[in-house]
């Protein structure tokens, strides 16, 4: 039929939420967990369906109600199903109360609700009483304990100086839409090849040139402010550079007494051709590009559409000719 668009695909689950890009938009989506369909795991979902008009974050689940091949159906629990994604909308989630943060290089954030959060998500704290410098910047989380706590995934240079006693967290659903992005720095090593740790996965590649902006002396290592370097190796959250910081002061994350502070940041400024060629990296990997997309975010779990680790998952999504609400 005219104006009806279908798109399909598959993936192997890794235990994390899955974002699926659907350039034409989406009015409905069906997800089949082939692994669970074939298995006989009590309570595990194997087919999921969502249609425009249903609550965002929910949908329908078909599951095995016993350790056999029998089938039952239910509505997916709130925040456990399908979320429409439009990355041009960068509004954070609503603020949720924080009851405390620990005084550790990887602070644990205590909260009564972790609804909508998964490991690897990015959050932003605000109004953190007693540990003010933890507020106003984004960081990835791990060690999520449902409705109890989550932890900062990438360690800061030092503990924030005090335990926080109150505040709020918000989930930051999307990266800024243009690549390559500036990032907050949480640590820099003193080494012949300085290793810089960012608060979220940086997305840089070997060969890219970066500049460190560290204008606030309370973050230490003031000698590195304005220094450009070349990325020689990467992990998700670190870059190894050709900057020799051996003789620099130690990098320290500013303490609450310094508040307000100017955070140390990392900026991509181009590509070093030689390093990129040696590293077999695309010379244009640093090109500024608009990465915005529309699509669907599938939540992970045994009764959720993104499944569990190593599940084989197939999906089909559609854009309908009409949407009649009667």
């Amino acid at each position: 039929m005219d104006n009806t668009i279908l798109i399909q695909g598959s993936f192997t689950a890794d235990g994390n939420a899955k974002n699926i890009v659907l350039p034409a938009g989406v009015d409905w989506m069906r997800v089949i967990n082939l692994t669970e369909a074939d298995a006989a795991n009590n309570g595990h979902g194997f087919e999921f369906y969502w249609q425009r008009g249903m609550t965002d974050g929910r949908g329908i689940v078909y599951y095995h109600p016993a350790a056999d091949q029998t089938v039952a159906v239910d509505q997916i629990a709130a925040s456990g199903g399908f979320f429409l994604v439009d990355t041009s909308n960068t509004d954070p989630s609503a603020a949720v109360a924080v009851t405390g943060t620990t005084n550790a290089a990887q602070p644990v954030v205590a909260t009564g609700s972790t609804a909508g959060l998964s490991n690897g998500d990015i959050v932003r704290l605000s109004g953190v009483t007693a540990a003010e410098t933890l507020g106003g910047w984004d960081f990835s989380i791990d060690t999520l304990v449902a409705n109890t706590s989550f932890r900062m995934a990438y360690a800061m240079a030092n503990a924030p100086g005090a335990a926080g006693t109150a505040g709020f967290w918000r989930r930051i659903p999307y990266d800024p839409i243009f690549y390559p992005r500036w990032r907050y720095i949480v640590n820099i090593s003193q080494a012949a090849n300085a290793v810089i740790t960012t608060s979220v996965p940086h997305g840089y590649t070997v060969g890219q040139r970066i500049r460190v902006d560290n204008t606030d002396v309370r973050f230490g290592m003031s000698q590195i402010d304005g220094v450009e370097g070349i990325v020689t190796a990467v992990t998700d959250s670190t870059i190894t550079t050709n900057i020799n910081s051996t003789a620099f002061d130690a990098f320290t994350f500013a303490l609450p007494i310094s508040y307000p502070v100017g955070f140390a940041t990392l900026h991509p400024v181009g590509m070093d051709t030689g390093t990129a060629l040696l590293g077999a990296v695309d010379l244009l990997a640093d090109a500024v590009s608009n990465t915005a997309y529309v699509g669907m975010r599938l939540v992970a779990g045994t009764v959720n559409p993104a499944g569990s680790n190593n599940d084989e998952i197939y999906w089909v999504a559609g854009k309908s000719f009409s949407n009649l609400a009667e």
Partner: protein, 200 residues
């Protein structure tokens, strides 16, 4: 169409430009509201990076209530910064420039070597301050700091096809626009995102 162009360039700068938090304000947030010392800091940083100003001096004249304007970098901001700008020491509203010849309609005024241009499409990062307030991104741009590249010899096109093109009965006209351009920061040392929260 033109608004979308502006928004794309805005979002590009918000994602990739170097940033400096305002720290000299008094609202107790991080970043703070904009202050004279923050403007001085940004101007000093741009000067230190050998960035060329975009606008020339405006010479002083003997008109009551007016003042000369320094050669300046361009600061692009959201309209919600205007009340705070009015309250900054050294702020001179555009109506008090000694010459009105080079003013643009969106120009609000100047502080030291920054001339501020405001738009309701200016950049805001929601709930991004330490206290959870919106952060205003003020892009301070020097000469040749940012560029737009036309592709296929055009940047954007507005297309109109009259009904005669649609069918023999000429029942439907077509109106559309399309875009083929890329924007990017040319020299990352010549663009600074001065981040501020509001006090007023």
């Amino acid at each position: 169409m033109r608004e979308t162009e502006d928004n794309l360039v805005r979002d590009m700068m918000a994602a990739t430009a170097a940033m400096i938090n305002c720290l000299g304000g008094t609202n107790g947030d991080n970043p703070t509201n904009i202050s004279t010392s923050d403007v001085s800091f940004v101007v000093q940083a741009l000067l230190g990076n050998d960035a060329k100003t975009l606008a020339d001096n405006i010479e002083g004249t003997d008109k009551f209530g007016t003042g000369p304007i320094r050669s300046a970098y361009m600061a692009l901001a959201h309209t919600s910064i205007t009340a705070d700008l009015n309250a900054v020491n050294d702020f001179l509203h555009a109506s008090k420039y000694s010459s009105q010849a080079s003013l643009l309609p969106s120009e609000w005024g100047s502080i030291q070597n920054l001339r501020f241009f405001v738009s309701s499409d200016g950049s805001i990062t929601p709930n991004a301050s330490a206290n959870g307030a919106d952060v205003l991104n003020i892009f301070c741009v020097a000469t040749e700091g940012v560029m737009m590249v036309e592709q296929d010899r055009y940047r954007s096109q507005f297309i109109y096809r009259p009904p005669i093109y649609s069918d023999p009965l000429a029942q439907n006209a077509s109106i559309a626009w399309k875009m083929a351009f890329a924007s990017r920061i040319v020299n990352d040392a010549w663009v600074i995102n001065m981040r501020a929260t509001r006090n007023i």
